[in-house]
Point group: C2
């Protein structure tokens, strides 16, 4: 093994859209571990919309990403050196090692993974943070009952794809919103949603409201919102009394765009409960949720796809693509040769 | 007693602001009651912002007010004729007899009142629907703990005044938002709020955010929202993690104005729970809430004021004034000579 590795730091904060110049690829020496520490060779990095929020220096649920520090990020990898009796060389682990090929940890927040029935990368997706985000929002906030209609935006993504499949497993009508015919076909044909509205086509045709109405003939009982903006507002006009909204993201506004809720009147008139949440604050639910998600993936009942960028140098481009909806399924970065 | 009485019907739906022409005063014959019915001489009519919503023909929590029918409204009055063994002549009752001097009821939704310690009109205010709206939103949605900061808009109104006093009784910091120095003085000096922001003065000075920040040095933990619009958006920028919002009204938009939530981003980043509610759907809480409110009013611990229009003919003007914030405290209409 080389005694150097690559990492990506935040070089500057974006003003509006993220650009490749906001990042800087660095080659740095592999640290020497001390007693209690382990060295991890990361195999996959997870790219997630929340990272865009952290790049800003704004009031938020977490401190901003520091400049010139390794970009925050979830990773799965393998222990390659250990001075911590709880971890052996060869152990597969998940942690927050960031946009880097190598990580050092004292074991805190590092979790060993069983890859017998579940592929390592799935722990960054359907059986990881995105899956848990979907599971928590669906079971704890949307609380959708059999026969109810559930709408999820960014339906082909790592989170949305799980929400819709959980809804189908519980006997709901699952309706997705996604950008483009390919994504919608995937959502309906592979993931088994009942319908998917292509918001890009609908916006061009100027018939988003009509398409959504056709897909939700009985209105909408619960919304899992990842995007915000026009499609969220269109959903609000279809919401039934006592609707529930799991507010998970508003990616349409992360680059400085408008995040206003225009049809806020519906929150009142339909007596809606809306709750914003961050899955990392609900760790108490993880054992229960991950058990269910892991079981479903192992049985092939929970499907997922991955978009994998080939190496760390391509991570910025992949991340910018994620923010523009170019990925299908979970966006990962491969950190070891294939 | 005359064999005729006055009522006001909805003559036309408003386009934008309500005008006196949307109403029509009629003189109609007093009906003859049948077995099981009672005749009620109404003493006071309650005027409430929800009536404006019902005047529109829009998707909402209740059917629109029908044209040429008696305007909906809560009333307190006295039984003047009874063919129902549950009610005797002289009984004081509360019901939904509408904008009318006389009402007929089969006793359903009619409730006898004890005016020994509580004045009759208070059952339309602090010990009635507005009080219960405040009580439910405060205890069931805001769930504010001792030491937390609570903000309520339309703080001098029938609902807001109760919210702030309940907050003080529970050891919270209570901050009101109201229009004008007179209202703010009342809110602080008579109702005992810790502070009150005069949004009209603040808007003129262009320092609403600064004034709200000064009044809420520890941020805002819970919001009781009656108004919507700019002051609500200003509150959102001060909201603390896990803030709760009881969304009771958005009166600033009822005449067709903008009801958008501009700072919706805060709902996500601060993991806010927002819930729209209509108190009539939570009847199970009324006995508990009314008991507490009635006890507080009887003991003088819950203060209120009333703005009383002198007769039914002046109800439209009083209602239009209510929508423009001209009243202080509970807006009533007197239906019997003083």
């Amino acid at each position: 093994m080389s005694n150097q590795f690559q990492r990506i730091v935040l070089a500057s904060r974006p003003s509006g859209e993220v650009t490749a110049n906001n990042f800087r690829l660095e080659t740095v020496p592999v640290p020497t571990i001390m007693d209690g520490q382990v060295l991890i060779r990361n195999h996959f990095l997870s790219l997630d919309p929340y990272m865009r929020v952290r790049m800003d220096d704004a009031k938020n649920y977490a401190a901003p990403q520091a400049l010139n520090e390794t970009m925050i990020g979830g990773t799965v990898g393998e222990i390659i050196a250990s001075k911590n009796p709880q971890f052996q060389i060869g152990d597969k682990v998940i942690g927050m090692m960031g946009w880097a090929e190598i990580g050092v940890s004292d074991g805190t927040l590092l979790r060993k993974l069983d890859t017998t029935h579940i592929p390592l990368s799935a722990y960054l997706g359907a059986v990881g943070m995105p899956g848990m985000t979907a599971w928590y929002g669906f079971t704890q906030i949307m609380q959708a009952k059999e026969g109810e209609t559930v709408v999820v935006s960014a339906a082909s993504g790592a989170v949305g794809s799980v929400v819709g499949q959980l809804a189908k497993l519980r006997g709901c009508r699952a309706v997705g919103i996604a950008g483009g015919a390919e994504k919608c076909a995937y959502v309906v044909n592979e993931l088994g949603f009942d319908a998917c509205v292509d918001y890009k086509a609908a916006n061009q045709a100027g018939n988003l409201a009509e398409q959504l109405a056709a897909a939700t003939p009985n209105g909408i009982d619960a919304i899992f919102e990842n995007v915000g903006g026009a499609s969220f507002d269109a959903c609000l006009l279809r919401v039934n009394p006592f609707g529930r909204i799991a507010l998970c993201g508003m990616i349409s506004g992360y680059d400085g765009g408008d995040m206003a809720i225009q049809n806020a009147r519906m929150l009142l008139s339909m007596r809606v409960t809306l709750r914003g949440f961050i899955i990392s604050e609900h760790l108490d639910f993880w054992p229960q949720g991950l058990k269910e998600l892991g079981s479903l993936v192992a049985q092939g009942k929970l499907k997922f796809r991955e978009s994998i960028a080939p190496n760390l140098a391509t991570a910025p481009e992949a991340f910018i693509g994620l923010l523009k909806g170019k990925n299908l399924g979970k966006q990962l970065v491969r950190l070891i040769p294939e």
